[in-house]
């Protein structure tokens, strides 16, 4: 599809065991009207019940790279399967428009991103479009308390689907959402009853980094059970020096990459449109250059989701480097409506 420069888009669906991933995927697959054909990759030992003509089962196999960090491990099983799918598509045997990868409940999505973005063949043929995390409206609170992997899954998410809303109370749902927002202020929240979502949920609107989803009033100070995850956003009132910024950010990610769970930005670098920045720990997506600023998000800004790093220290660093970056920075306290 031309929208992806000839590459096949990939949607990753993650979330705790029992949070409804499989149900959602099954419902999407059974929607015959949807314009895209999906190839689906699931974990071998995942729940049975997914039935599709192009479904592949893999057993998670991670290659630890020399001196590498956890987020930069390569998922060999996915590498192989994605290549196989590519050959099948090219030969016309089994064609598809998009790959859906369903992870296990314990999965860290970062290695999947790394695998696709760093493998020379895969990076030319696939593009990560969207990361979706499902969370159970009824049991989400318990998961937040007991399942540490959920914080990674939520901070990486572009969209969070709150499932099983039919069996949870309004209060439970809004508390859960406040906690989710406390971890990831700019993700889009979608509510699903009985696993029903529009299949278009797998597609991301690339020109938005979700700052219009950011509402300081929605963020719970009461937490999300993990006191060491915090987010902070900044705006820039002058175009910043992209080269200088690249130095600062790559320096930060080298020294503290594992703690920078997410960085997202729509940056004014002195050109017509902004640069879209999107990173997960050490992995920075190839920056996209938009021709114009999106209507609802026309302020140069950046958001960090940090674990174990104080937002004050990050803030001090950015302010100290202001001159170097050739810009003026403010902390984004709230979004003007």
């Amino acid at each position: 599809m031309n929208a992806y420069n000839g590459k096949k888009p990939v949607t990753i669906i993650t979330g705790c065991l029992g949070s409804g991933k499989t149900t959602i995927i099954q419902k999407m697959l059974s929607n015959k009207d949807y314009i895209e054909d999906f190839a689906v990759i699931v974990n071998e030992f995942g729940q049975v019940g997914l039935d599709h003509h192009l479904i592949k089962r893999v057993e998670e196999r991670t290659v630890l790279l020399n001196g590498g960090c956890i987020c930069c491990n390569s998922r060999e099983d996915l590498e192989e399967e994605l290549k196989t799918l590519l050959y099948a598509d090219e030969s016309g045997k089994e064609t598809f428009d998009r790959v859906i990868i369903e992870t296990t409940g314990l999965a860290d999505p970062a290695p999947i991103l790394f695998t696709i973005m760093s493998n020379p063949l895969l990076q030319n043929r696939y593009v990560i479009d969207c990361v979706i995390t499902t969370i159970d409206a009824k049991n989400g609170k318990i998961h937040l308390k007991n399942n540490p992997e959920i914080y990674k899954q939520l901070s990486v998410a572009d969209r969070v689907i709150v499932t099983k809303t039919d069996i949870a109370s309004e209060k439970e749902i809004s508390e859960l959402v406040a906690n989710v927002r406390g971890i990831n202020p700019t993700c889009e929240i979608i509510y699903a009853k009985n696993g029903d979502v529009d299949p278009s949920v797998v597609k991301l609107n690339k020109s938005s980094i979700g700052i219009s989803n950011f509402n300081i009033n929605e963020i719970s100070n009461r937490n999300h059970y993990s006191n060491d995850i915090h987010s902070i956003s900044f705006t820039f009132s002058k175009p910043l020096n992209w080269v200088a910024f690249g130095l600062w950010l790559s320096m930060l990610l080298h020294a503290e990459g594992e703690s920078v769970l997410r960085v997202k930005g729509l940056l004014d670098v002195g050109e017509e449109g902004p640069i879209v920045l999107n990173g997960v720990q050490h992995i920075i997506h190839p920056p996209q250059h938009l021709d114009t600023w999106p209507k609802e998000e026309d302020v140069s800004h950046i958001i960090f989701i940090l674990r174990g790093i104080s937002t004050e220290t990050l803030s001090e660093s950015l302010f100290a480097f202001q001159k170097f970056l050739d810009t003026e920075i403010s902390v984004l306290e709230h979004l003007k409506v």
Partner: protein, 111 residues
């Protein structure tokens, strides 16, 4: 690309890439001059920080960088993806923008 992992020559580091463009193509003419200007700017900016640790970087043939310390040790650096890794090897620690010393030095810099 992960800055801690090995250097993939086929990779274009994200700081070298602004526009979505075809990969690995040789740029000629005006584009080449722009690229060289950008490299020299990068070297200049890098050296602002590296100087604080008695390091220096210079462009080499428009394709690589040479990183040197005050003792005459040097490293060939492909792109920013490995720069900070090589810096760490030379000085024995990672340069961290959250480091107090670096923050206060950058804050008090004049000009």
């Amino acid at each position: 690309m992960c800055v801690l992992c090995s250097d993939f020559i086929t990779q274009v580091h994200w700081t070298d890439r602004k526009k979505e463009s075809a990969n690995g193509e040789v740029v000629i003419g005006e584009g080449q001059r722009e690229r060289q200007r950008s490299r020299l700017k990068r070297v200049q900016l890098c050296n602002e920080i590296l100087a604080l640790y008695r390091l220096k970087i210079r462009d080499w043939n428009g394709s690589k960088f040479i990183l040197e310390d005050a003792k005459g040790n040097s490293r060939i650096v492909h792109d920013l993806g490995v720069l900070w890794h090589d810096v760490q090897e030379l000085i024995g620690k990672a340069i961290n923008p959250l480091d107090e010393y670096l923050i206060s030095t950058m804050k008090n810099k004049k000009g």
